[in-house]
Subunit: 347 residues, 3 copies
């Protein structure tokens, strides 16, 4: 790509004379060469960027670095993401033709690529330019939009649907059964799930994440949602648009999240609560009650962020506090005795 094309992509002006300069890849400063473009998203890396071999740098508007071709943008980290997507390999991982098992009733667009030993079941519909890895299983009636990327080893169970440009990473499972049991005091009676999972456009599902189908209706993953690896989403959960959650989070049945909720790794949510828009949930937090929009919660049990920080700080003094209260008790008792003696003296 010419630098002018990248400037165009970022919606910024191209440094004079650099329009024709050829960019062959994006790199971090330490492994950049002359024709790699790099980026400065945190000022603490300024020296590393200034000293690196790369000529072209994506920077925050107003940044000056001598001897570099600067693309000045509002948010260089977003700029990095956009340019990196441009340089991403679109090469298919597997050679064609691959042995796979496509039911005659499935409607698979002609531009779909499918790796070896994948299975596309009856009545599936797969949109244009979607790629499917190896050893994937799409059960009966699965619908996948256009431009999706389904990595190897993914299982999408019956009647689940994915929008357009969805990414499902290796080993993710979409549409496993909800964990529903009616306990009669002696044993559990299994409650089958009649619903499905609906994943909306541009969502990204991490490796080995499992999403259970709804009892009735749909478990919903909103537009642009980011789920990291090994996350558990239970039945009838609804995740609002553009939420992001780090690895190993668990969300229990029927809990709903608003939009743009951010969740740290290993956090857990009980069922049947609601998390408001733009809430922030700390790593390892245990959320047992609904959370207001914009609230920041952390800890187990979770509390408002600054309150929790004060509690945690106070805990450090707890062993000394115990001793101090014992001393106070002794001193108060002794003061009372002295005061009692005085009273006796007086009488």
């Amino acid at each position: 790509l010419k630098l002018s094309q990248i400037a165009n992509l970022l919606g910024c002006s191209c440094p004079g004379g650099g329009e024709e300069f050829l960019i062959t890849r994006i790199a971090s400063p330490d492994n950049a060469d002359e024709h790699a473009i790099t980026f400065l998203s945190d000022p603490k890396h300024l020296a590393a960027v200034a000293g690196c071999r790369s000529l072209a740098v994506i920077v925050k508007k107003g940044t000056a670095i001598t001897g570099k071709l600067l693309l000045e943008v509002a948010d260089p980290y977003v700029g990095y993401a956009l340019v990196a997507q441009e340089f991403e390999s679109r090469e298919f991982e597997f050679s064609a033709p691959a042995p796979c098992c496509i039911d005659p009733s499935a409607r698979v667009a002609s531009t779909v690529r499918c790796g070896p030993y994948s299975v596309i079941g009856p009545d599936c519909i797969i949109g244009e330019a979607t790629t499917i890895g190896a050893c994937c299983v799409l059960e009966r009636g699965v619908k996948i939009g256009a431009g999706c990327r389904i990595d190897s080893g993914v299982v999408i169970r019956r009647h689940c649907s994915l929008g357009n440009k969805v990414i499902v990473e290796a080993g993710a499972i979409i549409g496993s059964e909800g964990f529903g049991n009616a306990f009669d005091g002696e044993r559990h009676h299994r409650i089958p799930s009649f619903g499905n999972v609906a994943v909306h456009d541009e969502a990204w599902i991490g490796a080995h994440t499992t999403i259970d189908r709804a009892a009735f209706g749909s478990t919903v993953i909103g537009t642009g949602v980011r789920l990291d690896n090994l996350i558990h989403i239970a039945h009838n959960v609804a995740i609002g648009d553009h939420c992001a959650m780090a690895a190993q989070v668990g969300i229990s049945g029927s809990t709903t999240l608003g939009k743009r909720v951010m969740v740290g790794g290993q956090a857990g949510f009980v069922g049947h609560i609601h998390i408001g828009d733009n809430a922030f949930i700390g790593a390892k937090a245990g959320i047992s009650k609904s959370v207001a929009p914009g609230a920041k919660m952390t800890g187990y049990p979770a509390r408002e962020f600054m309150k929790m920080r004060r509690i945690e700080a106070a805990q450090l003094s707890l062993p000394e506090l115990l001793k101090e209260v014992k001393h106070l008790r002794a001193e108060v008792d002794s003061l009372r005795n002295r005061l009692d003696e005085k009273s006796v003296d007086k009488q």
Copy 2:
């Protein structure tokens, strides 16, 4: 199904005149139509059920709803489970014949259905009416009973055994190696596992749950046990009959659970302890000691449930407590000084 057949299934009487009424599916009140049966397991949904389009409702004995055909049972949630199982699809997800790889030495019952690209290794034995999804791997010597459901992408490693009517959800791994290492101060020496995993009748193993084989003997999953998704069961663990645990629980080596233990999500157990019958372990609890039968434990480190609730409530006051103790210290010092002065005055 006729309503009288459902009444029969539930062991209750059929409302007069409704015997021949046709029920085509089970549904929640909000998506029910006239021929769907619904249920009322929580009185707070009474208005929704009373106003829904469904005619037939499973209710608790003694409940009255005008204009509905009521099936009165002791526990309507159990009733829901039983009827839902009846309406569950038994359709196989894949079209036959599927390419799969069955070792000639395997004994596979004639009513077994197997999805594409599944592997049944040497000396396996598979019972009647068991279904196996796509891309499953059953290694050498695996024994599976009758009426089991093995979903796609499951791996059952060598010589593990499953009873009858076991469900193994997509991607579960049964018989991975125990995590045994002898550390010599410099490096770890791997300890191979010679045992297997034995899963008893009617157990239900969730998606991507992993169960390690025993060092010697068997890791045991009892009858009717429910394991949700992404659970880790280490080597030589024994889970008693009818235990249930939510997603992402981890149980370390050689720990044993009695019967009907309930475990919340993301709880963790150290190795070599015993959890008594009917114990209840809260979500995210960290269990480092054996638990008595019937005990309710929660927290990290885990404590008896009500004690933990009191500690958690007290923690909220901890920052103020620190300040109050400082004030008390100052006041006690000042009182002592005043008392000392008085004593001096007197002398």
Copy 3:
């Protein structure tokens, strides 16, 4: 094996007259027969070992048990590991020839065994005597050394590399994408990963563990590292040689571990910190800051081990402490009043 051969393997002397005694397997005392060898690693099992049917026992130097053929070693648990490895089955789980899909450009050593429905992509290189299970996917450019064991259902994504004698258990995913997102206040822009994962010699990766590829460069798993099941290793993490971590641990992006770090189950680490050599991290710990070499940390938030134990003990007294401070407050107020009254009296 003759007992003398085992003594040779352990580097100890063979009990006189037992040189030719045939050992057919290794077993725990309770399921040992005459020709099984067993071991005594914990003195509390002495009676069980003394009374078991096995003749040969691996013991700590200086241990005496009447009527047994004793192999005396410095560390009998390490001895157990070494002998167990010798008796481990090397039988391949699947019958040959298996249908699999090997790209013509892949260079696969002649002694490699590969299970059914596995995929070896373009430009892969697989070393001598490596075994690959069923339904495995090795994408383009994957390099695997000699003597590795890749169990069934493993996905190794493009350009990742494994050293020699690496074990990857069933369902593990190596080289999933790093979870990188640039959030612009409204939506997330995905940051593709250009790096890979490098797993060094003799590492052992557990079932369903996921290891993300680096943004640039390599995510590194050091020599001899042990990762249990369902662990999440984020992009650009580096795990030093001979570290071991129990199941369900999560490590966030760019965090590095020194050598021989031990991590308990379900612990979590924030990104961009360093854990020093020989550190010990307790189960369920939440590590949010760098840890010094040799330090022992536990709890959430994590603190030095003994400090945390004292805090936890003090927490038990917290509800009573609150009451005691209230009493002290009342008593101090009353003492002050009495003192004030006295002062008034005097005036």
